[in-house]
């Protein structure tokens, strides 16, 4: 086992350990962690199984197989960012709707409070 393989195995293991620990502590919701776990697992698999990495590198025309790890890692990072963009879009839409609800409800509340005052105090 050469040095680059050792580093990548340790790196992937570290990433997986961090992800699992964040989930365990409830800081990372399971639904958002699936893609992260997949990233860590694929990187670990390719680090451990050198033959698979060589095969992959040869298939896409990479001369130095460990560079293939970077490519795979990069693709997963792109997917993660895209995934987050989708989530951010959804959150901002929900945020917009909530802000509108607040404005509409606040006006309704003011109106109801005013009518209640009118009833108790009589017409002004």
């Amino acid at each position: 086992m050469n040095r680059v393989q050792l580093v990548s195995i340790l790196g992937s293991l570290g990433l997986l350990a961090m992800i699992l620990e964040l989930i365990r502590r409830g800081k990372l919701a399971e639904e958002y962690s699936l893609l992260w776990i997949a990233t860590g697992a694929v990187l670990l698999l390719l680090s451990l199984w050198r033959g698979l990495l060589d095969l992959f590198a040869a298939a896409v025309g990479i001369f130095y197989p460990p560079s293939g790890l970077f490519l795979v890692g990069f693709i997963f990072v792109l997917l993660l960012i895209l995934h987050f963009s989708v989530i951010v879009s959804r959150l901002s839409r929900q945020n917009r709707e909530l802000a509108q609800d607040v404005a509409l409800l606040r006006e309704k509340l003011e109106r109801m409070t005013r009518t209640d005052d009118g009833k108790t105090r009589g017409e002004e």
Binding site: R96, A99, Q100, V102, A103, L104, R106, E107
Partner: protein, 240 residues
Amino acid sequence: MSDAKNRLPQRVLIVIPAYHEEETIREVVQGVHRHVPGATVVVVNDGSTDGTEAAAREAGAVVLTLPFNLGIGAAMQTGYRYADEEGFDIAIQVDGDGQHLPSEIPILLEELGRGTDLAIGARFLGRGDYDPPVLRKLGIRFFSFAVSTLVGRRFHDTTSGFRAANRRVVESFSRYYPYDYPEPEAILILSRAGFAVREVPARIQEREGGRSSITLRKSVYYLLKVFLALAVGRFRAPPD
């Protein structure tokens, strides 16, 4: 123009989105009350930190205050949701900066009376002598060209925010309204859904206070964003 004949049997809501318009909002609200008596005026305060809310209230408007700035599209939609919930038959958008003349509102109402679903008060149709700066004029032309091409019918002023919507459009907009720079996209969405969208000549004034939301710096983003929205809008899955 006599005001008496503008007392319509329908319930009319005037929606005025306002972001930092304390200088002009009072006059706009009062102008609307003068020219369209009987209409309810709602000012959507889009997270202003100045005296917009107090000024609008003093002038006799219902005020919807958003907890933070959402941008013109989402602010407009707040007004449409209010119109929908409170059962208004017609909702009319008027800018809070004084560039739209309340005296021109009856023209939009008349157009709705002719069976139009969304009436747009358009510049460059002979009425009024509004002459925007060169760059803005180019932008207006570009979007009008893009929308006209996509819809297949000629539009002259797709960025105009001076509009009147009937009940069906109010319901549609309260469910989905484009945000960010919504005006050209709204035309496209309604046209595709089979609504009758028509322009009527209207006088538009130079702005009295504040600045256009579209500064030079933002216009490139505006151009790209609206163009993308228009292009994607053709293929976008319908909302809901």
